[in-house]
Symmetry: C2
Subunit: 356 residues, 2 copies
């Protein structure tokens, strides 16, 4: 907890030092006459309580209004992006007294045009800071350059994009999250077996930045481990089980050597539901994110392992860092990497109520 | 962050509601005459900022002194119990303004008599609350009954003991932490290979509560998985490499089928150093806790996996819950289970700077 949020008041410090409020005020602002003895008394108390000028009261008094915009994918209940949104709400609620409003704008994570549509009219509004989920690299870079031009600070979450002027990034190292999935899978399958990599078909031309980096880390690990099996790829549709089952039947029938499967976003329940329906217990499946449909299959043993990255904390810390920057002139680190959590059936339950 | 630590003052609320300080005071304490219109204005602001009476200022004004005692094992730099102690210090520093002092008393984790020695004279001092690392069950229960008699609240960390009157427990489910070690090991060794369980010889008669529970969970998982290999046990000494190497040479020579090894506390570096010195890459080793000597061997690939339990957060939240109980009459849950983190070489670095 930041010291600045503890509520020591000048009147408390005066009491503790045994001097008047005016004396404390003069010592803090280094003006007027104070006896050496009283100055020492007050300074000892200031140090003890680690006093910081009351920035919150100043901000309240200033009545300045701040308007933040958070641009993230839309979601249904229990989906991945709900957790980021919950983190944003939690930060907003803690900052309730600071005259801050947050507008949440949502795009379709499978269609980069919907992101560009949001961006087009963004700067018509009063905007003091922006939080951006960086799924579509090119579009995010275009937006960032616009924000740079107007000197509006912005935060990246989900995956980082280097070479831009983001105030801070909160998320994981996507490449390493791919390496970890490869490690979790290869530890559990025979050395010369095959692996299936599934991918969700996107409507737009842009693939997700995060998914691409994870895939790269995954493949690099296999190469370094001198994995000798074959890699098969399959494209699935987000809401078309019939299509997906047909595709998967084909690929598993013609490749009986597949022992492992992976998908580089939160939709591994699609593969999990297939493996469960076909009773294919022998295929190990590794995926991402603690969303309900995944955790259910993990607890049933259908999914072998999930890699997770604390999305609620990303949303929460992203908004807090905008506030700290604008209201308190405090700067966070530029790159803030969340732990990459490994979830098995056995430790799952201890994460479900420990989100931040 | 608890709302109560944000520093909204009555004067701020009066400003925001556009009424006098006296009006706000009358609404909060529900006394005196306030117009219905002003009452509504003030109540809206109170709700918006989630106002809590300023307990901290009251506590400061009361000048009451609190004395807490924390009883944990002693440690050298980089050892497991240092992290718990760091968490205690962090809480103490945040609570600096509340007239709280914390005395840390240390016992030898391999000798239960040293715990009993500390306890013997404990109640001669003024004690308002106690944090106890519960390594030695019988001794902790005796201490708890004494504290009950004097109505002194106490907190357990490390492992829970049921049936006592602890205010709260912060730690992991030790049994499940044993299950997880078994899962991590059996996923990576051949089905009919043998496993070595190492144990540190204690001077006192009492074995550690946590170690015993982990061992039980470990063995139960093997049984349920119908593990058909043999379990070998070896007793090691905490500071005697010559003795340990001789013992381990004997057991590995006479049991070439050992493919996995485990030890149920933070000393798995002892086994790790042996495996490294003998270049026995084929033996998979699983242990506990992110202490420096373990993380070094994990990053080298000598240790296969570590199970960790956020000790810093245990110490931190343990002390905070004593404060919340005594100063603010707030009560935490009785059982507060930390996530059981799984660390591999590949995700290790993202945990080292993310302790709490």
């Amino acid at each position: 907890m930041d010291k600045e949020f503890s509520n020591i008041r000048i009147v408390d410090i005066a009491k503790m030092a045994g001097v008047s409020v005016g004396t404390v005020d003069r010592v803090i602002h280094n003006r007027g006459r104070v006896s050496e003895e009283n100055r020492k008394k007050v300074q000892a108390i200031l140090e003890m309580v680690n006093y910081q000028p009351n920035l919150m009261a100043r901000s309240l008094a200033s009545k300045k209004q701040y308007h933040f915009i958070a641009i993230t994918p839309s979601f249904a209940q229990g989906e991945y992006w709900e957790a980021i949104s919950e983190g944003i709400d939690k930060a907003a609620s803690e900052m309730g007294a600071y005259n801050i409003t947050i507008t949440k704008l949502f795009f379709d994570q499978y269609d980069n045009k919907t992101f560009d549509d949001i961006v087009r009219n963004l700067l018509d509004k009063k905007v003091d800071g922006v939080l951006i989920a960086t799924l579509f690299t090119d579009s995010v870079i275009r937006l960032s350059r616009e924000l740079d031009r107007f000197e509006i600070p912005y935060i990246y979450v989900d995956s980082n994009i280097e070479g831009q002027h983001q105030l801070a990034y909160f998320g994981t190292e996507s490449y390493d999250a791919g390496v970890i999935a490869a490690r979790l899978l290869t530890d559990r399958i025979s050395p010369a077996s095959d692996i299936l990599m599934a991918r969700i078909i996107h409507s737009g031309k842009n693939d997700s930045n995060q998914g691409r980096n994870r895939r790269e880390g995954f493949c690099r690990y296999l190469k370094e481990m001198r994995f000798t099996g074959s890699l098969h790829e399959v494209e699935l549709k987000i809401n078309d089980s019939v299509y997906n089952f047909t595709k998967l039947d084909e690929i598993f029938e013609s490749n009986p050597n597949i022992e492992g499967a992976v998908i580089f976003n939160s939709t591994c329940y699609i593969l999990g539901n297939y493996l469960k329906a076909r009773a294919m217990q022998s295929v190990k499946l590794v995926g991402y994110d603690l969303i309900e449909r995944n955790t259910q299959l993990l607890s049933e043993g259908v999914i072998t392992a999930l890699v997770a990255q604390r999305p609620e904390r990303q949303g929460y810390e992203g908004i807090k860092s905008l506030c700290n920057h604008l209201l308190f002139k405090q700067h966070s680190e530029m790159v803030n990497l969340m732990p990459i959590d490994i979830l098995l059936k056995e430790n799952l339950k201890y994460y479900l109520n420990n989100k931040l």
